[in-house]
């Protein structure tokens, strides 16, 4: 059976169980609302534009945070990849920081910036930077020595060698790094928004929870999950696939 058919049957079963279970009142609507009420909450949210404002606000923060984290991450990664001393010192710190969940930075961010937009963006930046740096570093270190030798016999040295061979050769790692940075930044942003002020998807999630609107809570969670999946599957994985093919890294 095709994957698509299996999936359709699987999701249809879940949806049917969810809706029928709710209508038969197998569980209380406050604990878990019915599919139809979640759906109408979403429709309502888009009609009165609150969800649209939330989406715009969240994406704005993400765009700023992710862009900055990709730039900083790339620069740190290049430094770690090219300088052994930097790798042995700063590299260890980056590796340690990578294992700190980025939301842990929020208290510091609040002390530095206040409970506002800047604090959330700061947490988002930290979410993506380290994973980008580590991937960029691996990319630079894994450039085939053959490419470098070949380029040297063709007269390439120094900066020229870096910009024309070493960096382009590590593009597959840049793509993977960006994909992971996006995923980490997206999670960090949602966590940050949950604890901060609106508008934003995370903020609306907490707001709805405070007012006992489980239909909105579930609806927003579905939006957050759907965005994460769509960006990952339809944007990053496609780019990654075509890069891997072109760079001849298929196994």
């Amino acid at each position: 059976m095709q994957t698509a058919i299996k999936r359709i049957i699987f999701f249809a079963a879940i949806i049917a169980f969810w809706e029928i279970g709710s209508r038969l009142e197998l569980w209380h609507p406050l604990i878990f609302p019915s599919l139809s009420s979640v759906f109408s909450a979403l429709v309502e949210g888009f009609q009165d534009k609150t969800l649209i404002y939330d989406l715009i606000a969240s994406f704005k923060r993400l765009a700023v945070g992710l862009t900055i984290s990709l730039i900083i991450g790339t620069l740190i990664g290049i430094l770690l990849g090219k300088s052994k001393t930097a790798d042995e010192t700063l590299g260890a710190v980056i590796l340690a920081l990578q294992s700190v969940p980025s939301i842990v930075w929020l208290p510091i961010a609040i002390m530095w910036f206040g409970l506002n937009e800047k604090a959330v963006i700061f947490v988002t930046i930290l979410g993506g930077t380290f994973v980008m740096a580590l991937n960029m570093r691996t990319g630079i270190k894994n450039v085939s020595p053959l490419y470098i030798k070949a380029a040297q016999t063709m007269g390439a040295t120094g900066v020229d060698l870096f910009t024309r061979v070493i960096f382009p050769a590590s593009i597959p790692y840049v793509v993977t790094g960006s994909r992971l940075a996006w995923a980490f930044a997206w999670r960090a942003l949602m966590a940050g928004e949950l604890l901060s002020t609106g508008p934003g998807l995370g903020y609306t999630l907490r707001y709805a929870s405070d007012f006992g609107r489980m239909d909105i809570v579930i609806g927003v969670m579905i939006i957050i999950g759907a965005i994460g999946m769509i960006v990952d599957q339809f944007i990053f994985q496609r780019i990654e696939k075509s890069v891997i093919k072109k760079w001849g890294l298929e196994s």
């Binding site: 053959l146 070949a150 016999t153 063709m154 007269g155 072109k246």
Partner: protein
């Protein structure tokens, strides 16, 4: 002499930090325009020697001069073709071949030059393809065109056809012979195949292993095309075989493995 290799020694330290001789007292002179094969079993340092000529590896002692100039680093006067094509996958065939020309030529001139050499290896129709879209043999031809595009005096080839199947290899032998006749480059060609070296070169430098030394310098004066002189080719093959029984046993077992794996 065009290429002068004078008393070249190369040592490296093994795991226990003991010095190992890779190349020992190598002396070799090559005339301009000569096609010289360096033949030897694996581990004899033939690739290291080529890498030293390319300027990619330093000698422990001794020096190499080309046209009177001592080699200290890689340069565009020496084009190198490796066993793997080493094309840049993010560039098209045309961009790969113009890679070494970017700085010294206008784009249009570089592309004209590149096209000339791509046509020489019969790949003029593939200029906008990417390397992953080409077969191994085609990639290797692009690599040859790329090395030729710099118009180097010397072409260094490190088992360039070693990773290809027999038919492709035979076809490329013919193409390389034509290119050499047409361009009159000096070619240093590293191989572990006796027949390949006899088929292609004016001269065969036979190397022994551990330490890497030159065992014999054989002149091949069979008229080309050599396919028509099978008998003479076999005579030279026998000569090399007889003279170097022990070393060749290693070569042969390697070639058997090679034939089996392809």
């Amino acid at each position: 002499m065009f290429i002068e290799i004078n008393d070249v020694n190369k040592q490296y330290n093994d795991k226990e930090n003991r010095p190992v001789d890779v190349l020992k007292d190598i002396n070799l002179s090559v005339e301009k325009g000569q096609f010289v094969s360096i033949l030897g079993p694996s581990g004899c340092g033939k690739s290291t020697l080529l890498s030293i000529v390319a300027g990619l590896t330093k000698t422990t002692s001794g020096e190499i001069q080309i046209d009177g100039k001592t080699i200290t680093k890689p340069g565009k006067d020496r084009g190198m073709v490796f066993q793997q094509a080493a094309l840049f996958p993010w560039l098209t065939v045309m961009e790969n071949v113009t890679f070494p020309l970017k700085k010294e030529m206008k784009k249009k001139d570089a592309e004209e030059t590149a096209l000339k050499y791509l046509q020489m290896v019969q790949l003029g129709k593939y200029i906008s393809h990417y390397p992953h879209e080409l077969s191994g043999g085609m990639q290797q031809r692009v690599a040859i065109a790329r090395a030729l595009a710099m118009n180097p005096e010397t072409l260094l080839m490190d088992e360039p056809f070693g990773a290809l199947d027999e038919q492709t290899r035979t076809r490329l032998h013919g193409q390389l012979e034509n290119i050499w006749t047409e361009t009159k480059k000096t070619i240093l060609f590293v191989t572990h195949s006796i027949s390949e070296s006899i088929k292609l070169s004016d001269r065969i430098i036979v190397m022994g292993t551990k330490p890497g030394i030159i065992l014999q310098d054989i002149t091949v004066d069979i008229p080309r095309p050599r396919e028509e002189h099978k008998k003479e080719m076999l005579e030279i093959e026998d000569h090399i075989m007889k003279y170097l029984k022990k070393e060749i046993d290693k070569v042969v077992s390697e070639e058997l493995q090679y034939a089996n794996s392809h």
